[in-house]
């Protein structure tokens, strides 16, 4: 299983990839990850790679080899779409993060064009209203775990394994908030799934 997490520095991609790796290890698989750490973390594009399997050679997912793409932001999801297999699943937060440069140049980027592109080009697309989930659990820092909740079936991770990974990685006072975000993310995935089935009928 190859997974790409794409976002903007500060959105919590590193913790999310660590949680996927831990849950994968709980399930007895070999895991390799690669992170963006350093200057790009200051509001730049960040990409994490997580690979699990019987034998994993390189920590970087080759282009076109990702089973799952978790996009923390619409344009970042599109930027990393070349990693995703034709039949891969993309889980994308609909809320756009506008770069400072966009505000300066008067660009109208609001993510909608990116969402339309994803809807046309990704057969297995799960859109998550991350902003609503963060508001519901009362923390802007819950986005990463909410997206993980929606990604669990595609990642092949049992909810119990992810909950265990969360309890082991998050400070005690934040466990409940994160578990709530995980569940709301999972609900968003189920809704998208049902909607997808009716669309196909």
């Amino acid at each position: 299983m190859n997974c790409i997490l794409a976002g903007v520095g500060g959105q919590g991609t590193v913790l999310a990839s660590k949680l996927i790796a831990q849950a994968g290890r709980t399930a007895g698989r070999q895991v390799r990850t690669a992170e963006t750490i350093g200057m790009a973390q200051r509001g730049g594009c960040v990409v994490s790679h997580v690979r699990t399997g019987d034998v994993v050679l390189s920590p970087l997912v080759p282009l076109g080899q990702a089973d799952v793409l978790i996009g923390f932001e619409p344009a970042e999801a599109v930027r990393c779409l070349p990693y995703l297999k034709a039949e891969g699943t993309a889980i994308v937060c609909t809320k756009a993060v506008r770069p400072v440069t966009a505000s300066l140049t008067g660009s109208s980027y609001d993510g909608s064009e990116m969402i339309e592109y994803l809807q046309k080009n990704v057969p297995h697309l799960i859109l998550v209203d991350g902003e609503a989930i963060c508001a519901a659990v009362g923390s802007p820092r819950a986005l990463n775990v909410a997206l993980l909740g929606a990604a669990l079936p595609a990642l092949g991770i049992a909810p119990a394994d992810m909950e265990q990974a969360l309890r082991a990685s998050v400070r005690p006072q934040f466990v409940e908030m994160n578990l709530a975000a995980l569940r709301l993310g999972a609900q968003a995935q189920k809704k998208a799934d049902e909607k997808g089935e009716t669309d196909h009928d």
Binding site: V8, G9, G10, K18, A21, Q22, R25, Q30, V31, R32, T33, A34, E35, T36, I37, G38, M39, A40, Q41, R42, G43, G44, C45, L57, S58, P59, L60, P62, L63, G64, A75, E76, V78, R79, L81, P82, L84, K85, A86, R98, P99, V100, T101, A102, S103, L104, G106, S107, Y109, E113, M114, Y117, K120, N121, C134, P140
Partner: protein, 600 residues
């Protein structure tokens, strides 16, 4: 053996602890920083750990510990090794008693550095052995081997890894018990420890005599091997993380080729390399940074009269700069082996993507400092020399306040040279607190002594922010968890003779601008110390809010400050509450008084 899921840098730290390291020093620098942090985290009290003031100090302190027989490790990034090169070059002649490992993290890309230099080349230059791990697992094993080798040949040993090994995570089998390596203490011996031209001549001879045999001995360790021997006449030579990329690319191409993986590139594992050269007609060198293997193999072909063709960066078969990926290696191997590239998913071209360069965080006090200098110098001819740290990002629009950036501590001295040639400009030098201690102070003394006319702006945010908030001499905290005396930047400046020293809060615009004006009008060396903690080490204030009724939509806040928390929304400015730290700078810029505290 226990299994642990570790980042490469954590694996190196645990490898050092398990090898009985007694002294670890270093200076933070991406991608090396987590090594020393992890040693400190797992320190049971038996290891002395410090963030040194710079890499040269770290190298010398570690050398002292190794002179006294302790196992010592020093950590830094590739450009840090330039700062520490003076002690290292001499140390190669003098040697050590206890094992000494010099951990240097290289940054192909570069992702977070000024240069794409290769520490394997530095090993050749300094004539020191070097290990080059291809994974976190191998990095763990190599640390122990490097300590053993260092003690055996009584010389420092380099361990160089690259970003994808440092910041990649994998399952590593670690020893159950830590080795205990007691230090016997310093044994006086002036012939040995005092470097003199005559002893250096003799030591130089010894080093040159030692290295060829050492290269062959290291060549026979498990860190050098050949995969798929005999699977064709077109071979591949590779190293480090490129070994993983090569293995994966061959799988994707459904191709096979003999692969020589070199883990100890210097001293040259000559026998191993020559045997490989004899087994193939051609070799493609898959390397990042310098063509170290390519040069070595080309040399060996000449020396041993071999007809084998060596290809790589110098023959145009591999990219000369930047980081490799599985794709770039796959493409090169496809051309080299004559195997077609598999077709990936085909999708329509995406819409134009927004560019997203890294920026100063919302609420970053550096924004206030840069803006204050910009306002104070409006209409005056001024040049802004920058330095290394988060504040290099002050170059971005709309601040555009970094005209030069070279290396740690260079801004202070570059400003002096600029001003001598163009005395009608006001020459500013911006420097962060950690960089000030690192290499800034000699530049300030140079300015005072040589009567230069510059304005020093110290951006004191009470931490080493860019690398992840390490303590430094101004913070009064050490990596041993102790509270030490804080070194005062103001007192240092006054002590070296800077007469005009101002302090200001960068988030108080009027006060900050007036401090800058006074310093700029002073003839000689003047300084403004902007004190305000990094937003990552302090509790944020409540977010501010734009009163949409009062906002006139002039965009002044956005145009002047470029804060990521400020966006235009339907012709009005809006503040992202999740990003805003309540620094208040924008409320001081708004001409309509529309930006206020949430509850005001």
């Amino acid at each position: 053996m226990a299994e642990k899921f570790l980042m490469g840098n954590e694996a190196i730290a645990l490898g050092a602890l398990d090898a009985g390291v007694g002294f670890v020093s270093g200076y933070p620098g991406t991608p090396s920083t987590e090594v020393l942090e992890t040693v400190a985290k797992y320190n049971d009290g038996s290891v002395y750990v410090e963030w040194s003031v710079n890499e040269k100090s770290a190298m010398e302190a570690a050398a002292g510990a190794a002179y006294a027989g302790a196992r010592a490790m020093v950590t830094m990034k590739q450009v840090g090794l330039n700062v520490a090169s003076d002690p290292l070059m001499s140390l190669a002649y003098v040697g050590v008693q206890g094992g000494m490992v010099v951990l240097v993290a290289d940054d192909p890309g570069p992702i977070s550095s000024q240069t794409e230099q290769d520490t394997r080349t530095f090993a050749m230059f300094s004539k020191l052995p070097v290990f080059d791990p291809s994974s976190p697992e191998e990095a763990y094993a190599m640390v122990g081997a490097a300590f053993d080798l260092s003690e055996k040949v009584q010389t420092p040993v380099l361990l160089r890894s690259t970003t994808r090994v440092c910041h990649g995570c994998a399952t590593v089998r670690v020893q159950d018990e830590r080795r205990v390596k007691p230090a016997q203490g310093f044994v006086k011996d002036t012939q040995r420890w005092v470097i003199f031209p005559r002893t250096s001549f003799l030591n130089h001879q010894k080093i040159e005599a030692r290295n060829p045999a050492l290269g062959d001995a290291l060549g026979n360790t498990p860190f050098n091997f050949v995969d798929h021997a005999g699977s064709g006449r077109r071979g591949i030579a590779t190293h480090g993380i490129n070994y993983a990329y090569t293995s994966e690319a061959l799988e994707l191409l459904c191709a096979q080729a003999p692969v020589l993986k070199v883990g100890t590139p210097f001293p040259l594992p000559e026998e191993k390399m020559v045997a490989f050269l004899r087994s193939v007609d051609e070799v493609l060198c898959v390397e990042e940074l310098d063509p170290v293997l390519e040069r070595a193999l080309t040399y060996l072909c000449g020396k041993h009269h071999l007809p084998t063709v060596v290809r790589g960066k110098r023959t145009g078969d591999m990219p000369t700069a930047g980081e490799n990926t599985v794709e770039s290696v796959e493409k090169a191997l496809s051309a080299y082996l004559g195997v077609p590239l598999p077709q990936g998913a085909q999708r329509e071209a995406p819409p134009p993507l927004p560019v997203r360069p890294p920026v100063l965080c919302a609420g970053c006090p550096h924004r206030g400092s840069f803006y204050a200098v910009k306002v104070a110098m409006k209409g005056r001819k001024a040049v802004f020399s920058g330095d290394i740290g988060c504040y290099t990002l002050g170059n971005a629009m709309p601040l555009d306040m970094v005209d030069t950036c070279l290396c740690m501590g260079a801004g202070v001295t570059i400003a002096q040279g600029l001003h001598r040639v163009e005395p009608d400009a006001v020459n500013f030098a911006f420097i962060g607190d950690s960089t000030f201690f690192h290499t800034g102070i000699p530049g300030v003394i140079n300015a005072v002594y040589n009567e230069h006319d510059i304005v020093l702006i110290v951006l004191d945010n009470s931490t080493t922010a860019m690398t992840g908030h390490q303590p430094h001499p101004g913070t009064g905290k050490t990596m041993m968890g102790e509270v030490s005396q804080k070194v005062s930047i103001e007192k240092v400046l006054r002590a070296v003779g800077v007469e005009c020293v101002k302090k200001a809060d960068p988030l108080n615009l009027a006060q900050a601008v007036s401090a800058v004006r006074e310093a700029a009008d002073f003839h000689g060396v003047s300084a403004v110390i902007f004190e305000s903690p990094c937003i990552a080490v302090t509790k944020p204030k409540p977010a501010l809010r734009v009163d949409a009724a009062a906002c006139v939509g002039c965009k002044r806040c956005i145009r002047e400050l470029g804060c990521p928390a400020l966006i235009m929304d339907g012709g009005k400015a809006r503040i992202e509450p999740g990003l805003c730290t309540g620094c208040g700078l924008c409320s001081q810029v708004c001409p309509a008084g529309a930006i206020r505290a949430e509850n005001a």
